[in-house]
Amino acid sequence: MEDKIFENRVDLSALNESILKIRTEIAKVVVGQEHMVDLLITAILADGHVLIEGVPGVAKTLTAKLLSRIISVQFSRIQFTPDLMPSDVLGTSSFNMKKSEFEFKPGPIFSNIVLIDEINRAPAKTQAALFEVMEERQVTIDGTTYPFAPPYMVVATQNPIEHEGTYRLPEAQLDRFLFKISVTYPAFEQEIAIITGHHERKGAQALSEVNAVLTAEQIKNFRHAVQQVYLEAKLIHYIAQIIHETRNNPALFLGASPRASVAILNSAKAYAAVNGRDFVTPEDIKFVALPVLRHRIILSPDKEMEGVTADEVVKQIIDKIEVPR
């Protein structure tokens, strides 16, 4: 009934079909975590990088690997360690004796989907190597710029900062992640489903059952469609109010950047498309605001000492701002 009354002005049928397939493939391996899956699909469509945080053993790395299998593009993995050097990530120039000239050997960052496992185990020096590639999708080495072909996505995993042997990521780098997705322990029923699934597979690798359902060309087309999603002027004001409030809130030492405003805009449009709409609602903005903002703000020292979390402050800010109607 509803589709007949209002026909979408942007064709999202192929996109919604692919999303259904993605969900089916992910469900073969990951039990529950629908919220995380929604955010991952949104990030792909919004052309953003994702930081997945959670305690060890909650399928962070598995989810990232799963994502790489669903999309049939080049994939590489970098295990971040405390002694990792920027050249280990970006690549290095070596002398070719035959040609008597230096030759650039690209590092693992040269790929389409890059899984950076345990990203906060490498020091700031190595993290800085990711700044250019994450923001500009290119790497400049020895005066030569190497642009990356789309899609390019960094999926990083990390343990909470309180854990042993971890570094706090630089603010400049955190700001480059579209979402920080917090993965929590599964519910009791989900835990049973996980155990049952493992038992029934009898040692077979779950990832081998997953098929690629998305191509680079499709992603390009879907992203173009997402850009056409309509956004009412009042909702632009609503996004600006949320961001502005983070900068003036006494509970926060550092507010969100203009990059965060753009991140909310792009991801809200992508999430609206995921839900089959060619326009954004306040619901979409509220859904993406928390994962967009939680890693971009810094609590004031007193709030930190009181045990208040970034999530709580962001939720309170969003809840206090009037939804435009």
Binding site: T281, D302, R325
Partner: protein, 261 residues
Amino acid sequence: MSITRLLFVFVFLSITTASFSQEQEPVTPPQEIVDSLFSENETKDAQTEITPQRDSSTIEVRAIDQSKLNEMREDPAMDYGQDSPAIISLWDRIKMWLFNALRWLFSIGSSTNWGNIVVGVVIILILTYVIMRLLKIDALKMFYGRADKVTINHSIIEENIHEMDFEKLIQEALARKEYRLAIRLLFLHGLKLLADRHHITWEPGKTNHDYLNELTSKELKTGFNELNFYFEYAWYGNFVITDELYNRVTDIFNNWKINIR
């Protein structure tokens, strides 16, 4: 003793002995150099005795100018025995006051054991207070509950649904053929009715889906969901609303309104 150490001692001794023997050896200048220093007739005698000659030059005695000396004596800048004037800055005064206060405190404290404890406690309290003031920590909130309420000072509420005359506003919108606006007003009217009958708790930050989840009655939920659908497409989606569609939404609203008790 190992061979290495013995070897080291041997090398050390041989070096020191060699340098000692060099120091003992007399240095005799060549004869032709000695001869050139003396004249021909006193060559041999001069070698044995040299007598100093008397200096007959006149020495001019210079006296100090007495007036200049007196002038310098009277100059206070040249009087090094005088104490420099004491210049005590405000900071020095504060430090002195603090020092005296602490000395007084410790003199009390050192007289008895209890005094010691009291002094210790007072110092800890002062330090804690200073640190908490610097970090802007509210001690009461730390001990009596979490200060997780973040207050937002500015009010961004532009309209109050409880003060709006919906009948009049809808008629005005219809007269202007602004059906999008009319659907919006119809939806806001529905929210007001739900809030008045306490089916929902009106809060500016809640979305339509939050209100939908608050509804417990199935009839209310279904109708509200339908109204919300039209409102979202009309208002946020900017879809064209015809009078025919508006009438359809009005019918849904009127049928749904009956269930609000």
